[in-house]
Symmetry: C2
Subunit: 197 residues, 2 copies
Amino acid sequence: MSNAQHSLDGLVEALRRLPGVGQKSAQRMAYHLLQHDRDGARQLSRALGQAADHILHCQRCHTFTETPVCSICLDETRDASLLCVLESPADQAALERTGSYRGYYFVLMGRVSPLDGIGAQDIGVAQLLERAADGKVEEVILATSFTAEGEATAHVLSQALKARGLRATRLARGVPVGSELEYVDLGTIAHALVDRR
Amino acid sequence: MSNAQHSLDGLVEALRRLPGVGQKSAQRMAYHLLQHDRDGARQLSRALGQAADHILHCQRCHTFTETPVCSICLDETRDASLLCVLESPADQAALERTGSYRGYYFVLMGRVSPLDGIGAQDIGVAQLLERAADGKVEEVILATSFTAEGEATAHVLSQALKARGLRATRLARGVPVGSELEYVDLGTIAHALVDRR
Ligand SMILES: [Zn+2]
Ligand SMILES: [Zn+2]
């Protein structure tokens, strides 16, 4: 319809790659940025390029990092006998904010989901077993979500860890059943941590 | 929480500038792109930069274009006696797809909205009056949406055009009341165009 179509169509198409964004939303976003927020468009462009090129997965805990090993894994003042397993960096950030955990982490970057064809191997169970077998870890705290998939993930990991002679605990059920960890208030998380079983 | 936070926080913050995207959605989008679609992140980065730097507003009709005047305005085979006024490039694209209109366009890039403090001057009524007074335009077809704001916009423009001795028509009410033009089926739009009053 006009010679702006190439750039505009390209932008709408690219915005559709964002999860939960369909054709109409993408069009609305593109118009908004072009009409009212060019600076926002340039800022987002830079942030995407920067993140895509520089963010790696930590070699020890798998969370997002810009260095081969993340700052938490490099922090030698932490308690090496504890390893907390989480589904995502958002869950990790929530637990960090409670200020009640001083061990290390392993971030699965996912959860077991048979319906989506995501099995234990896809969330790095082999790497977790290797990480947990460093001779220092005495307890692996399974802090996956208290959803069906999170529970299934905890179950699979618990079985695998126990088969290797490693002690696996689960956050106490103070965390409301059916909820995702990152939405839970910090006091509840802290309490559930103390009550782990 | 880790040294990826700077790039990651920057990405989440930039994604929040998209309309309708809050903190949780932005985080989800960032994780998705970093975890599953780095190519998508790079594609979106390029598309945003390209669009922000190269898309202009047509000097004659105000729609998005990459040249000073858009291809439709440059097309001399069109009927210069007709000027159709629309709210957005999406509405313009819908009307073009009907294949039943061969005049020129003026795209308001908005609509009168007293609640949002958007008045007639903000949608370029002065530029429209100047464009419509080129000595060739015989009829200005007001094809704003059949919503309260679209009707208010049409009313304001109609008054201003008639005060200058210009003929203003409105799409027929074949377009379902309460709907936005871009969502209407093409046959209905074509019929409403013939029935304009
Ligand atoms: Zn790490
Ligand atoms: Zn034009």
